[in-house]
């Protein structure tokens, strides 16, 4: 009973062929099309760039006396740290993702709070309204902002017409455009976990705080906000992680001078045809971004589970 499944179901769990098929088919597919590609990438990250099709040198060669020789090239890796372009692009990606996460939190929190506190009939409708833009194409939502933000676009025309500004604002092809559009595109990822946490929250705690004389703002700061931390953490991760690797938005509305890490990988691959360096950058992103985050989440989940076990 440790696992929480009744022992009768354990019979399915211990079954032979069916069970092997249920695990084996997905494992085979993902091994072939997810794990293997990364091993290939890792191998290429240690090979050398040549002129040819494909533009990669072998890392295992046969010497004259018939022995296999393994040649590992680490110059792709030394570029990553000696050429500031890669580090700058990586730091810019982290910074952009951070700004996006903060913007999503600032816009999303009041919305999620308002939906969670609205009457039950309204709640589902509002939730639908929030999710619906998410179902339309990502590319189309980004495209909509191109027409709004460009120099003779809708926003500038509106502001000029209202006499708020006298010169068109140069937003398109700057980092500002990237921040705005990324906050727009990633908002649902922040909103939904926030809503889920706020909706489940025990309102009697808020009432207790107010009964004891706390002002609404103090109650929010000391009760509501701490209680919604799981939603904030989940939403922030869901926004931050994909935002670091975002490619389409900086390409379409950002400036070519402010490349993020995904664009660097893309350029190395397609424009410079330097596959080993592109592979090394890709591997480095996995090493420096994903593995720390996954470890963090895993450690957190483990400590939560321990705390829960200790409490019961």
């Amino acid at each position: 009973m440790r696992d929480g499944i009744p022992h009768r179901l354990g019979r399915i769990a211990s079954g032979g062929l069916g069970r092997r098929l249920v695990i084996g088919l997905p494992a085979l597919w993902m091994g072939l099309f997810f794990l293997l590609p990364f091993l290939v990438t890792l191998k290429i990250a240690f090979s050398t760039s040549i002129v040819g099709i494909p533009p990669i040198g072998p890392i295992v060669t046969m010497t004259d006396d018939g022995a296999l020789q393994l040649t590992i090239h680490i110059e792709n890796w030394s570029y990553l740290f000696s050429d500031p372009m890669y580090v700058v692009a990586y730091v810019r990606s982290l910074f952009t993702a951070l700004i996006t996460t903060v913007l999503c939190l600032l816009i999303g929190y009041p919305m999620a709070y308002a939906i969670a506190r609205s009457s039950k009939r309204w709640r589902l409708l509002l939730l639908m309204l929030v999710i619906m833009p998410f179902w339309t194409s990502f590319l189309i939502r980004v495209y909509a902002w191109m027409g709004i933000l460009k120099e003779n676009g809708l926003l500038n025309n509106l502001l000029l017409w209202l006499h708020v500004i006298h010169q068109p604002l140069a937003i398109m092809n700057t980092q500002w455009a990237v921040y705005i559009v990324m906050a727009y595109a990633y908002l649902p990822f922040m909103l939904l976990p926030l809503y889920a946490t706020l909706e489940k929250m025990d309102l009697s705690l808020v009432e207790a705080s107010q009964d004891l004389g706390a002002r609404p703002f103090t109650t929010f700061l000391l009760v509501t906000l701490p209680l919604s931390t799981p939603g904030i953490v989940a939403g922030s991760l869901l926004v931050f992680i994909p935002a670091v690797g975002e490619f389409l938005i900086p390409t379409l509305v950002g400036s070519p001078g402010n490349m993020m890490i995904a664009s660097v990988v893309f350029n190395e691959f397609f424009n410079n045809r330097d596959w080993p360096t592109a592979s090394a950058v890709a591997t480095a992103v996995v090493l420096f971004l994903l593995i720390p985050i996954v470890l963090l989440v895993w450690l957190r989940a483990r400590s939560d589970a321990r705390a829960a076990a200790a409490a019961s």
Binding site: D3, I5, P6, R8, R11, I12, A13, G18, R19, L21, V22, I23, P26, A27, W29, M30, G31, F33, F34, L35, P37, V40, T41, I44, P54, I107, G108, P110, M111, A114, I115, R117, M128, L129, V130, M132, T136, S137, L139, I140, R141, Y143, A144, G147, K150, N152, L154, Y184, L187, I241, P242, G245, F247, L248, L252, A278, S279, A282, V285, V294
Partner: protein
């Protein structure tokens, strides 16, 4: 919630919804613009819808996208459902953490990295085994199945997690084989989740740009790839018309789904 705080909250909500919908609304409005300049209004016209419907490149790409999305969604639903079932019901087996990691990693992997890795593997496989011959519908579909499976698995897993096992137990107690239980009890119960997962996979596949960019060949350009290459050059009213059509389809589909669900809830209640 009373007084000015309630009003402030409502104002925030309305402003947020305006932020979400205003860009979409401008797309639809300007798709009916007569002018070839997207942002200068000259009059109402459906001219650009006509241009779109006579654009062979767009039509071919749209058909290909639908074909790939149908295949990918179906494949991903099969693999993802099996994986989601394994993740929630088989608590212990050898390599479970590797299995979990492999199944769910595509959710957090930047698309550009998955795309490059797949392309490198396809190139390597072609060099080593002579297969696949270049890249086309086959490679793009395989790539889509892979990342969509992760989303399907998580939907199915969370559905099964909050699911009463007593029905499955009862069937087992009455002597049904595990496979029979899965087909006759578990599957029908999680069918709504499977349909939702299929729809999610379909929409992810038909919308994908980055992974498709790496795994498509000259004969398998999908609709998002055509749109991407065109809008890199700037805005065009024809794309607005396409966007409006997509928005109408999504709007129609969600409305129908909501109505069906509401009616079913009403009949079950009665």
């Amino acid at each position: 919630m009373s007084g000015w705080r309630g009003h402030l909250l409502t104002a925030c909500l309305l402003a947020g919804l305006a932020f979400l919908y205003a860009p979409i609304a401008t797309l639809v409005v300007y798709s009916f613009n007569a002018s070839p300049m997207v942002t200068i209004w000259t009059g109402v016209s459906t001219h650009w819808y006509g241009v779109l419907l006579h654009d062979p490149e767009m039509l071919r790409a749209a058909r290909r996208s639908v074909e790939i999305a149908l295949l990918a969604a179906t494949g991903a639903t099969i693999i993802g459902t099996l994986a989601g079932y394994a993740l929630s019901r088989f608590k212990r087996f050898r390599g479970r953490s590797l299995f979990t990691g492999m199944m769910l990693a595509p959710l957090v992997m930047p698309e550009i990295i998955s795309g490059i890795a797949l392309l490198l593997m396809f190139v390597g496989a072609e060099q080593a085994f002579g297969w696949p011959h270049g890249r086309g519908v086959m490679t793009i579909t395989a790539a889509h199945i892979t990342f969509c499976s992760a989303f399907v698995a998580i939907v199915i897993q969370s559905r099964l997690a909050g699911f009463d096992t007593s029905l499955e137990e009862a069937a087992l107690d009455l002597g049904a084989m595990p496979a029979t239980v899965f087909c006759l009890v578990t599957l029908p119960l999680i069918l709504p989740a499977i349909v939702a997962a299929w729809l999610l996979a379909f929409s992810l596949s038909i919308d994908d740009v980055v992974i498709s960019e790496f795994t498509s060949g000259p004969t398998s350009t999908t609709l998002p790839l055509v749109v991407f290459s065109r809008i890199r050059l700037g805005v065009s009213p024809e794309i607005n018309a396409l966007a409006a059509i997509v928005i109408f389809i999504v709007l129609g589909a969600t409305t129908i789904l909501t109505l069906v669900r509401a009616r079913r809830a009403a009949t079950e209640f009665a």
